[in-house]
């Protein structure tokens, strides 16, 4: 009995060390963000520094285009995820419900696109967008992002549609609905969880993207937040406080969404494999 108690205390201790390692960088970023202006760069390790202020946050909004960066990111991300989900939902329905010539080849093409490393396609995409004169525009970014997570969304949604019994649509068709109507009025509302997972997946992909944005956007006003933070962090000495403040503002909502939806997300991802 005593031995198991020692063991349990030891395990908790190990876990606490691990938790400290995983959360400490975030805590430290927070403490840097509330340091007063003259002590932003210091070897101080305390979590709440002396003379804590929110000056860095105010400076971030006043002296940089931070709001514009967030706005740009939101616009690009929302448009790409919207386009992605609309395209994926109908294509996945077709793969799930119909047997047609080319279905197998189509599914293989989807798998193959997952094997091409994303970093490889940045160069040709950049050249294409340059040729279309869309460098430094929302349109160029949305074009570059829009289909990158389409194959994955199609797979998730197809898996989910497979779990919805066909008899639902058959019943609707007996009542006189045509196939398209049955899809929009019965299947789509039923698959809200899968649609939101696909949307969330598309959203996080585009929201956190950095490398494509780096080559397409060059004007500080049209940056996404990832580029903006990179610029702030680059000038380590002068803008460390603003970088920390920006990081906190970006991270907290993302973390909250993730923690709120994580259980649901994991169960949603496995939903497709379980026959319901």
């Amino acid at each position: 009995m005593k031995k198991s108690k020692i063991k349990s205390i030891l395990l908790h201790l190990l876990l606490i060390i691990a938790v400290v390692i995983t959360t400490y960088p975030l805590i430290r970023i927070f403490s840097v963000s509330i340091r007063p202006g003259d002590r932003i760069i210091s070897t101080d390790l305390s979590i709440i520094p002396k003379g804590a202020t929110f000056l860095s946050y105010i400076k971030l909004f006043k002296e940089t285009y931070f709001i514009k960066w967030i706005f740009n990111s939101l616009i690009i991300t929302l448009s790409t995820s919207l386009i992605g989900v609309i395209l994926a939902s109908s294509a996945a329905y077709s793969f799930s419900r119909y047997k047609f010539f080319g279905r197998k080849i189509g599914l293989y093409i989807l798998l193959f696109t997952q094997m091409v490393p994303a970093g490889m396609l940045i160069l040709p995409l950049y050249l294409m967008i340059m040729k279309l004169n869309l460098i430094n525009t929302y349109l160029g970014m949305i074009i570059a992002y829009s289909v990158s997570s389409l194959p994955f969304s199609i797979w998730i949604l197809k898996g989910y549609y497979d779990t919805i019994p066909r008899s639902l649509e058959e019943a609707a068709m007996v009542d006189g609905a045509n196939e398209i109507y049955a899809f929009y009025k019965i299947i789509l509302p039923l698959s809200t969880p899968a649609l939101s997972i696909a949307f969330l997946f598309n959203f996080t992909m585009a929201w956190n993207e950095y490398l494509v944005a780096r080559v397409i956007l060059y004007n500080p006003k049209s940056y996404t937040w990832t580029l903006g933070l990179f610029e702030l962090q680059g000038q380590f000495i002068t803008q460390w406080g603003m970088f920390a403040a920006g990081s906190i503002i970006i991270t907290i909502p993302v973390l909250l969404i993730f923690l709120y939806s994580s259980k649901w997300l994991v169960s949603g991802l496995t939903l497709g494999s379980v026959k319901g």
């Binding site: 390692i21 430290r28 395209l87 294509a91 040709p124 389409l150």
Partner: protein, 391 residues
Amino acid sequence: MEYLTSFGEVLFLIITVLIGVLFIEIYLYSHFKLYDKKFYFFIPLISIFIFYFILKAINLYSTKTMFFITLGEILFSYLCVYRIKGKNYLPYMLVIPSFIGLALLLVYPFVFEVYLSFHDLKLTTILPWKETGKIPFVGLKQYINVFVLPPLSETTFWQLLGRTFLWTFSNVFFHVLGGFILALILSEIKMFKGIYRTLLVIPWAMPQVVAVLSLRGEFHSQYGFVNIMIKKLISAFPFLEKLGVAPVNWLSDHPLLTCTLINIWLGIPFMMVVILGGLESISKSYYDAASIDGATYLQKLRYITLPLIKPVLLPAVTLGTIWTFNNINVIYLVTGQAGGTEKADILVSALYKAAFVYNRYSYSAAFAMVIFLILMIITFLYSKIIRVENT
């Protein structure tokens, strides 16, 4: 005002996309539905004309593309009249918009990259290419260059290859090891399990750019947490200094080690969640039976746990290997600042720099094809291993 125009731009874009999809649908519908009418002959003709005007409008017209479009149109009409015959066309109408998107933005770039790798597009030939669309053909020269000329200013292809394998192996090894240990501990305890789990996945949940950039700051030689900690340890335990422990210039002297440490921190939670899922699905009765037979903890681990989580672990390791191999993000965010070091670059990040820092477009296209081939071989070997393990 500025924001309003942005909204207008995006609204315009979304309407354009919707009109585009609508156009595709009308196009498909007219072919599928009217295939047996007498005037069907006109529909492909009208479509070709519309394609011609669209290409002219977005300035992509060339005789070659027009030729392919005509060919495609003839093929499609043939399919409509002799094969599909108005039967079962709905699935095509649902699938084709997505596949047009994939073809234009995933398949075409890939083909274009293959094309580029046999030509010579660089900073001096890019303007003529933009105006006339012509690039000099050089055959296999770029592929030879990949192995002969260094992709970056000094580092050669073979150095990059070795570094990539070192990077991939060490990362995946520590991801699995760390994830496995944490998952084992988590599966043993009962109190606060949910809280621990939530806090431990923070590195995975944080936006990667924020995580990497803030950790990069912690490796700063003077103000970073790591070196401050080392200094504190030395002042607390003076004998450490005699053992050679000293603050290190992480970012300039050991960039690859820094990147690896950051990436290990980032990657453990994913493996932990996957392995924990596997552990929780193992029935307790196996362990009880083993305990009755007098098995030690290590024996249980070796003969029950490992074989039973293998079906979860192998795909996760395969995916992890491919992700780590392809990880430009961490290395570029750590070393990509102007004047950043090139001592940490692996194949993919060197590819990115060769294309966008050194502007050697065709060279990096050939380089990309070589990397793609290596990745294909790795994936193939992995699938072989998994198949052997499963039989």
